[in-house]
Symmetry: C2
Subunit: 260 residues, 2 copies
């Protein structure tokens, strides 16, 4: 299947790393679109592709069009594309939050190719560890996406719209919100000139523990112990930051609710 022609729309973090990986495993990415000419060019050079920064120049030769763009642009861009490319091309997006139905009005063959990871430009992701969630209403297209996904990761899952969006909500808790708690932890230490380095072994241990254990059995700390004295003293320490107090209280209550 490596002879298929892929058009990549978007050169943000997801587009960048997905484009690189597709090229690495031998796929032919014939075009890269980005509104920013420079970014399209940079990525195209890396993956032996051609940059465009205007959708009107999009190739009609593509077998697969991958939209790696922000959620709120997917609907508009797919409408635009529907007037420019072949009706029987396969189009997919890479979003956890946008339903597959976004394509329904405009295309006959469409699907999802959602890599579940947090990407940064600074770090090359290890795709072998990244779950790829796929979906399509047509069995043939689903099989095609499965084959393609398996070329970039052994960890491929067919999820429905509802499953994928629930997974996305869940990912927001364990990734976005967890990272914000790291930020808060650092902020509290900054006030006493303590480096976050001192907490890093604890942070790593906390995440590694749930590889083998159910998080419900790994809960420790003043909330689950109902140690009201410590909780009170912690809230005093957070006095200068009412919104951190609020986060502290609401998560403490939630821990106590599920462990009562």
């Amino acid at each position: 299947m490596n002879h298929i022609k892929i058009v990549l729309i978007g050169s943000g973090r997801v587009g960048f790393h997905l484009g690189n990986k597709l090229h690495e495993v031998g796929f032919n990415v014939i075009q890269v679109f980005s509104r920013q000419k420079k970014k399209a060019k940079e990525l195209a050079q890396l993956i032996d592709s051609k940059p465009i920064n205007n959708l009107s120049k999009i190739s009609k030769e593509g077998d697969l069009y991958i939209l790696a763009i922000s959620d709120n642009a997917i609907s508009k861009v797919s409408k635009t594309l529907s007037k420019l490319i072949k009706k029987n091309a396969l189009i997919v997006h890479t979003s956890g939050a946008t339903p597959i139905s976004v394509f329904e009005k405009h295309f006959k063959r469409f699907g999802i190719l959602y890599p579940l990871q947090t990407f940064s430009f600074e770090k090359k992701p290890d795709f072998s560890k990244i779950p790829i969630c796929i979906d399509s209403q047509k069995k043939k297209d689903l099989n095609f996406l499965k084959k393609l996904a398996l070329k970039i990761s052994p960890n491929v899952h067919h999820l429905s719209d509802l499953q994928r969006s629930k997974l996305h909500v869940s990912a927001v808790f364990v990734n976005n919100f967890v990272n914000h708690l790291y930020f808060i932890g650092k902020k509290i230490l900054d006030e006493e000139n303590i480096s976050l380095n001192i907490l890093k072994p604890l942070i790593i241990e906390t995440s590694e523990k749930i590889l083998e254990n159910d998080p419900i059995n790994m809960q420790t700390g003043p909330a689950i112990r109902k140690d009201t004295e410590t909780i009170k003293s912690h809230l005093v320490h957070l006095e200068k930051n009412p919104e951190l107090q609020e986060i502290y209280q609401i998560i403490t209550q939630s821990i106590q609710k599920y462990h009562s």
Copy 2:
């Protein structure tokens, strides 16, 4: 210094692993106290020590008494001990939340030996990666605790009461609260019969990213993008769990506050 006689009070998770480590590096733990006879016996056997389950039997021969007990018991137990052991023995506790002053009324020589990690009975901790926070009002005792701590970990920090308690608040955010977010993530997936396994690569990546990067630069997701559509749809998914909606909203607001 390995000839010093240590008395360990408490055989919970901290006492258990600290006792084992002290024994492993050659210290002489002459007694282990636990209110539960069986637990005292089990730990004592492992570390070639003698179990007691009544403080009245505590040895007067100890050079160092380590209290690895719950925060709310430290004051009472140290008062009891003050009537039973030599006034010039060194006594320390292993708590992040309890001030050093808890010992002031009862002892002349006292301090802190606080291993900053989340311990479970199921897993042997790697002490080489565990920061040990020490404190004492007497320079000689501080030096002694530093030497002792360095035998169990290269990662030793002298922190004041205020620093240690702020560190403890911070640890609650990055450990206890983060683990609860993992629990919430799993709960959301359970509703759709999806295994938490699918999120594990993301969870590990999220924690490993902050080893080399400031969490503020690693923030991604709908909150920082101010993607109100996705946020709204996530809140709809959480409709059945008003307290999860509340956690979602409050952390989203906090992310937006610090990234505006």
